[in-house]
């Protein structure tokens, strides 16, 4: 199960994910973003701190968004304070892919 808390402040869309992000639940995030009017959005922040579980499919989905939105001049930031998830992000090289060391 994936729950998403959405906040829009000025031009920044903040999405806080809670629960599990995998192949089954990814469509919840996909549907939410598909319904967003991004014409006024300058930056999207995904917060992973409240996720209980994420796998390589979930991280792949975030990388897909990073590539998609970056190419449309929308900044993407991944925020995380969960050490287990951070270890996985490092192993997969998410920060490296996003150009952040």
């Amino acid at each position: 199960m994936l729950e998403i808390k959405r906040e829009m402040q000025e031009k920044e869309l903040a999405l806080s994910l809670a629960g599990e992000l995998d192949m089954a639940t990814g469509e919840v995030l996909e549907d939410l973003l598909a319904q967003e009017d991004l014409s006024e959005v300058g930056k999207i922040t995904f917060s992973l701190s409240y996720l209980d579980f994420i796998d390589s499919t979930g991280i792949g989905q975030l990388i897909k968004y990073f590539r998609f939105y970056s190419s449309r001049n929308i900044g993407v930031e991944i925020v995380n304070e969960n050490p287990d998830i951070e270890e996985l992000l490092e192993m997969i090289g998410l920060r490296e892919i996003m150009g952040i060391d």
């Binding site: 995998d22 089954a24 579980f53 192993m91």
Partner: protein, 211 residues
Amino acid sequence: MITRQKKFKIYRESIYTVTKGKVSVVTHGEFNRFLSRNVIVFNSKLVNPQDITRSRWEIDQFLSITFSCWQGFSQRRKILLCVTEAMTNVIKHAGVGEVRLSLAESSLVFFILDKGQGLELEQLPLVFLSKGFTTKGSLGMGFMLMYQYIDRLVICTTRKGTQLALETQLSFNLTAGDENAVNSSGKSPNWNDHGQKHLWGKRPGLITPRD
């Protein structure tokens, strides 16, 4: 002209050596013999993506109840991650399959089985050792994570399907005297009637290329 049998022998010995005995490539017959030796304590069909989430949750519940001392261990989370990666491969590449769990005294073995098109022999080294190798445009990190976190991987893959076993040594022993390792009812779980210490024989989790 190199025969398929000879090629298979070269690949499995090379992979076994390069991975320092961590990855064993076996034949269908070998895998089925190993599978039949084990007592399966959990079994779940994989038909759609929701089955991945459901199976992971059920496995987590099963492990939490069976091994009450294992609450909150990061090892369990890593095992669940690896099983999820393997189950996701089934749904992505084969469509349907199943996951089974077998318990031994000091290890867990997950069997992830499907009847998809399988992997080519030549792809196996890339799958395990090359970061980002994929045949489906995905991230291609699933097997690399399994290789990183699982103690032993045994794979049989042909055009008739893929059979994968993920064995992990537990950070505690499931011996009769280890009361913390059993469930809260005080009864030892019936994980292995054969009293095996390791599921693959005397050497922990090892199927040598010469077996």
